[in-house]
Structure formats: C-alpha cells, structure tokens
Subunit: 314 residues, 2 copies
C-alpha cells in the first residue's frame, strides 16, 4: 500500500514530518510505502540526517506550499505544484491509497470534497475526534466542525460513518451509538435533536442507545456520539483546554488525561469521502505524524471507504 | 428583606435545607428574614435540632410537595398547597422578595414564567452558570438549557442579562462579552452565530469582544459567554463531569478544580423574570443552600431585576 504524506504541512514541518516518518519506519509492522511530498531541497537533507534511505520511501518534489491563511479553493487552484494539490492528484489517480497532511485544513477539506468526492449516497462528509474513556476505552465524537448547521438526515448518516469507523479502526464490536442531547428521554432537545432521534431509532445500520448528555462523553454509555458540528467543535476545543488545565494543575503524568493529548490520535480522518484523507493538527509533532500514518494504514487495510460505500449503496 | 426557601426541594430536603439555613444564620452578615416553606411536621423538629429559634425565621406550612417526575404545569395547578406553589404565591404578592427551591426544575421555570412573568421587553428568560477561570476570576455562561433553540435577538438579550448579572452579582466592571463560536473571525459559525454577531457588535449595553471558542471558557478572554441553550447545556454537564474526573484522578484538594463543584455556586438564577427566582441542583447540600440564599440576598440588595427592567424599558 502507498501512503502520501505532505512533508510541508504543520507548524513544525518538514522536520517533525520526517521524524514521524522515522518513528513509523522504526516500528516492526510498517506495511506501507510512504510517498513524501514536499520541497526536495528542504526534505532530502532531513531524510538523510534521519538515516532514512532513499530506497525506503518515494520522494515527490513539490515546489509550492499552501500557507495557513490562504483561501483554500483559490490556493488549490493556483498552486497546482503545492504539496497538497499534488497529494490529491496522486490520490485521485490511484498512485497513493491515502493522503495525510497537517497543512491548511480548508484546502484539505476542499481537496477531499472536490478531487476525491463524497461516497455516492453520502449527503455530507464529516470529521470526528477520539474521546478517551475513563475506563480505558476509546469513543468517537462526530461531527466536530465540518458541518456547523446540520439536517437530521445528515446526523443519521454521521452515525453510520462513525459506527463504521469505530468498528473497523477502533475495533469496537457493535459500537453503541448515542445522540448528544440535553436530556435522556425521547422528545428532549432542540428541533434538530428531536427530529434526528426517530431516524436513529429506525436505523438498522447502527446500534442506537438513545440520548446521551454532556456528562456522558467520558463514561461507557456510548461508543459513538453524534451531534452537529457547532456543538462538536465547542466540545472538542473544550476537551483540549481541559487537557491544558490538568497539565497546569499537576497531572502531567496522569495516564488518563495524557490520552487527551492530540498527538495520541494524530489527526482527523474525513469520513464519507471515497478515499482515506487524514487532516493533522497544525501543531503536529513526530508522534502525531506516526499515528496518522498508522491510522491511514488501518483505513487502507480494512478498506473502510469501500465498506462505507457498500453501506450507502442504494 | 424577605427570602422564601422551599424546605422540601432537593434530594436531601428538608435536612440539607435546614443545615444550609443554619450555615447562613451563623454567618456575620445575614440580612434577610427567611420564609421557610414546607411541611411543618417535618421541618419544625429539624429546625429545633439545629438550634434555629422560631423567632429567627418564618415557618410557612405547605402540606404538599411537587415530586421530581411530576408534570410541571399540571402539578403547579393541582397542588396549590405545595411548597413551590406557595412560594410563588408569596413572591407574586410581595410577601417575599426572592424565592429559592432545589425542587422540580420544570415547576420552578413554569412558576417563574407564569406567576412572576418576564420583564417587559424580554423575549425569553434564560438560565446561566458560573465558570471558574484558571486565573482566579469567575465567568458566566448563558443560556445553559432553558432555550434549546434560539433566535439571534434572544442571544442578544441573553448578552445583556448576563452582563448585568456579571456586573452586579459577580462584581465585574464592564464585563467582556463573547459569542461562543467555532472560530475567531466574524462570519464564522452556524447560521445562528452568524446572524447574532452583528447584533452583539451594535449592542451598546454590553462590551462585545467578538467570538470565543470552546478553548476559551476557562481563560480570561471573556467574562460572559453567550450561546444557545443546547450547546450551553452540553458544556455545563461536560464541565460537571470534568470535575468528577479530576476527583477520580487525585485532584480532590486542587484549589482550582474544587471551584467546579456545584455547591460553590449553589443554584441557577432565572434571568429576565421580574423578581429573583433561584433554582437549585437536585443534589443540593447545606453549602449549596447557603450560597443560594447569599445570591438571592445580593439580587435583592442590588435590585438586579429592577436594573434589568430599566435596561429593557423601550
């Protein structure tokens, strides 16, 4: 399998991308060939310094970079020789099987939507985040910001996409799926939640366990929690800030709160597009890059996008 | 000043209500006469045990109780001799200046809306919660669940109500008011946030500082954060669960996370109704009851409801 890695994306690129690649290659079970897309003049010496042989990877020269503050659609159109544009070109033409970047999030989303395209039947792709459960497990929250306003049918699809991700990547059998709401009983909530509940209840592709509340993120009530991207984004950023607070208050070595650190989940896969696309945090470090490569590997191995396409086949 | 206290509301009533009253009376600066509304046969011996003299308070007999699972409107109508119905009657007729209960939340809201009524000009009353800031200050989040679906005009009013509460009760001069959103820039957000931003920007009754994100709850960026009640309720319950997590992970004595404990803020005032109404947590203990009495006292002393009425006067 071939995985494309944008060497130029992220605040600490290309160095941390190279170090993440080194971490990945030093592992026992690396199965993928990495296509390292970036400025040869910058990347090559770093690869050499890291002792990564030219044979171990494929270096793809990309002379341009899309910056963080560039307009996504405009930049992708005008900078066809940027690492992100080349990455999507390689993915669309089948030269690589997954594409990872910690660069301009908007450009990654535009690329995923327009050069890879949604799976037929999927109304809107979505992005999710991992939730560390207090009892050791791992949950998934979806959507965390791609779709600020949602329709009930979209949330119903996010539940399916999230459940498939939880089943095949997080290895949770029959993931319990809950609707984020303000109360436990059916009928509670805002108009969106009220209209979504009956759809989830009748959805045979998921194991719906009813409403969950803000207090249930970290317990075992649900494995997959579905909400609109506005609420999910607020929750995601609040969880990140809680991690920072626990660090400030002396829990640096706490085994539970350490799991909140973004590097442990690496990046956010775009769910519902036809091929694996993973977007990294801007501050991605070596461990985050390694973990994104591992997630991409799993998405390819399990043919997650194919399974999603099967589920949405009319 | 006269403050009505429902002795029968809360999981540990009437004992914790009596103990809270005792705590309040043992303080140096208690300024209010407490009207203790409840079943005389249950409350009187507890008051005696607590050494609270019959002269120190007014005991108002209420032979009925509205249970947690009763339908609010129906129960208020049918149980006119319940502690909550009597409390609102005393408040509406001016016998008491504020009413506190940790009982049926729905019944408290129905009573606040229909026997006390919103301040003229206020579209929808709201409820808020205190946010402990990492640097020692205190912020306010509004709405936290009364209004699951909101209109921009309502959020704009919540900003005013929240700012007045922050100014007069939290004693923050010119509280910085932010709009909860998914990004910093104007134009970001769901349709509600996009439409609310320009209203807040032009609102001369508040000090609007722009959008804030999920990562900004605990820092000093904003004193008052405005959002719809769906998002606010999720955030409130998540914050409560974070407190539980920190307790489980060995931060029992942490001076910052201890401030997350509900007992420290006691209850939730209903903002935007004509008289002070405070709703307590179902699990309210003595300290929570004492703190609710202190908040009611401050709301009366500062004539917060009168100031709100002045602000909304056309």
């Amino acid at each position: 399998m071939n995985i494309g890695l944008d060497m130029m994306g992220g605040d600490f690129a290309p160095l941390e991308a190279v170090k993440g690649l080194q971490l990945y290659l030093s592992g026992n079970l690396h199965a993928a060939t990495l296509f390292c897309i970036g400025d040869e003049a910058q990347v090559k010496p770093l690869l050499e310094d890291a002792g990564i042989s030219a044979n171990a990877i494929q270096l793809i020269h990309a002379p341009e970079v899309i910056g963080y503050h560039e307009h996504p659609t405009k930049a992708l159109k005008e900078k066809q020789r940027s690492s992100i544009a080349i990455g999507f070109h390689l993915l669309a033409t089948g030269k690589i099987d997954a594409f990872i970047s910690a660069g301009n999030t908007g450009a990654m989303l535009v690329g995923a939507m327009f050069s890879i395209k949604p799976i037929p039947g999927v109304l809107r792709p979505t992005i999710s985040t991992i939730i560390p459960k207090i009892n050791g497990g791992t949950g998934l929250l979806v959507d965390v910001g791609l779709n600020a306003d949602c329709k009930p049918e979209q949330l119903n699809q996010f539940a399916i996409l999230g459940s498939l991700y939880a089943t095949h990547i997080l290895k949770i059998n029959h993931p319990k799926t809950g609707l984020l709401n303000v109360g436990e009983e059916e009928g509670k909530g805002n108009l969106l939640a009220q209209a979504t509940y009956p759809l989830l209840k009748e959805n045979t592709d998921i194991e719906f366990i009813g409403n969950v509340e803000g207090r249930d993120f970290f317990n075992d009530k649900a494995d997959v929690i579905v909400c609109d991207g506005f609420t999910g984004n607020v929750v995601l950023k609040m969880a990140e800030s809680i991690y920072d607070l626990t660090q400030q208050r002396g829990l640096q070595n706490d085994s539970y709160f350490s799991r909140f650190h973004y590097e442990n989940y690496g990046g956010t896969p775009v769910l519902g597009v036809a091929k694996p696309v993973i977007i990294g945090h801007g501050i991605s470090n070596d461990k985050a890059f390694k973990n994104m490569i591992l997630v991409a590997e799993q998405m390819i191995e399990t043919d997650l996008c194919g399974k999603m396409a099967d589920t949405f086949k009319p």
